[in-house]
Amino acid sequence: MGYSRLTNLMIQVSNLTKRYAGRTAVNDISFTVARGEIVGLLGPNGAGKSTTMRILSCFMPATSGMARVAGFDVFHQSVEVRRRIGYMPENNPLYPEMRVREYLKFRARLKGLGWRRSRERVTTVMEQCGLTDVGRRVIGQLSKGYRQRVGLADALVHEPELIILDEPTIGLDPHQIRSVRQLIKSLAGKHTVLISTHILPEAEMMCSRMLIMLGGKIRAAGTPEDLQRPMAGGSQIIAEIAAPSEILRECFSKIPEIEQFDVSAGEGEFQRCVLTPRDGLDLRPIVFALARDRGWVVRELTRHRHSLEDIYVQITKPDEEEEIE
């Protein structure tokens, strides 16, 4: 028990399984999260993200396996764990009849803060989350963006070691999403954050590490770059070059590094070329050298980066087929 409190592991999950009647929501997952990390839990709806978070926040027990937060067992030392976490559930439930400041103060008191301390902390988190102007408004009358910020402020109010946010940006407009993301990013280092989302670019932007869940299992884990790497090799090059298409085709077919190419008419005299490399080479220097030698004008030369979307599709594909079988 004392061991992990000395090391810098914030979350340790091993062989965690949760079965509901007739359905396995989380199937034997294991992972760890270090202190100060922002980790994204990704997956489609029903992948087991929320269940994992509910177990970690001591709301429901696991069927089997072990989960520790800051070295405390979530089942046997639930109060110790609950003292150390700030949890915002999916769709952020609040008491609609309460005022913002009143609600946050109530929550601070529930989390064991003294009267004076809770007043200080409420003022601080309200500033941090941009709620100072709406402190006296009734929660039920606030816009969704503000309500989301109230939920975040609640998760932060007792300065928890671990913050668990279940889909914190769902249903917000782009502007609100940006401000919530910035807020979460600003927590890095001081707090450990576990966020679930099914929006991949979002995780890419906020998280230092990602766990991809599907069907109750963790299918991939690593930094966004790690997850990109296996696919990056095969990435295509897009070039827009001002040259006659026949000559371009002829040149490309003579370059051994190019496995496949496609030249189509672009705007004006430019041709749009999509080139697939052999053996995962980066074709950009070769294309540049060719254009320089021939004196062609190059308007665009980019490598098509695989988004996490692609990775995601690749990871999830085989299993969907399995499920169909």
């Binding site: 429901m60 003292r83 559930p89 529930l110 003294g114």
Partner: protein, 250 residues
């Protein structure tokens, strides 16, 4: 304790800062007033055969108020929190299950007591404008208050249990209403079946909430009745606590 007070304050605020709370108080005041008007109407000629409080308890109004109001007060306690999801945010803070159950029950009981205050005003008016000594005295008023309090605790604690059972407020209200009405019907049955040596009828007489309340209204505090109400109230609260805890091992 700090946490209990914070919870209690929030529960009370949800009663007193909402329209529902005032609708309940208004409806109860209306019913008390109506029963009071009928009492006054029936009086005036003969010397009163019994204390006013006993006449009030003997009327259907008292039971109607208790049976209808207890489900309405308690139905939202747990069911609403479960349905809206705030139960999750509540139970993931370091609060104890006992604190939650105790605060919710205490708030419901407090609201119930506040709701009965207009009755005291009515009794005050009777006391002020009549000169019949046997109509009212501090003993009967004290007995009546204790009776109202104990009966409230009994039905409200069952309401808590019903609310903890389900996430639908409607279902919770129906369960506790059915319980209340069945108690009422049992008492009715017991009233019409005089006690014999058979154990069934003796058991039935123990459940006779009419007679118990009648004693309270006469200013007679029967320890059997006090124990009956207090022990069942504690039992229902204990079961509620177990239900709330069951989330952790189910």
């Amino acid at each position: 304790m700090k946490i209990f007070w914070a919870l209690l304050r929030r529960e009370l605020a949800s009663f007193f800062f909402s329209l529902t709370g005032y609708v309940i108080i208004a409806a109860v005041t209306f019913l008390i007033g109506e029963s009071f008007a009928q009492l006054i109407d029936g009086l005036g000629t003969d010397p009163w055969p019994m204390p006013v409080t006993q006449m009030f308890f003997g009327s259907l109004y008292f039971w109607m108020i208790v049976l209808l109001v207890a489900p309405v007060i308690t139905m939202r306690l747990f069911a609403l929190e479960k349905a809206s999801g705030t139960f999750e945010t509540l139970m993931t803070t370091p609060v104890g299950d006992f604190q939650v159950v105790a605060a919710k029950f205490a708030a419901a009981l407090f609201f119930y007591v506040v709701m009965w205050l207009p009755l005291l005003v009515c009794l005050f008016i009777v006391g002020r404008f009549t000169n019949q000594a046997n109509a009212l005295d501090s003993g009967t008023i004290g007995g009546m208050c204790l009776g109202i309090f104990l009966a409230g605790g009994f039905f409200l604690s069952f309401g808590c249990l019903a609310s903890a059972l389900t996430r639908s407020q409607m279902a919770a209200a129906m369960i506790s209403l059915a319980f209340g009405i069945s108690q009422f019907a049992l008492a009715w049955w017991a009233k019409n079946n005089p006690v014999s040596d058979q154990w069934q009828s003796q058991l039935l007489s123990c459940l006779n909430i009419f007679d118990q309340m009648n004693d309270f209204a006469r200013g007679v505090v029967d320890t059997r009745a006090v124990i009956f109400y207090a022990s069942l109230t504690l039992l229902f609260l204990f079961l509620t606590l177990r239900l709330v805890e069951s989330r952790r091992w189910r």
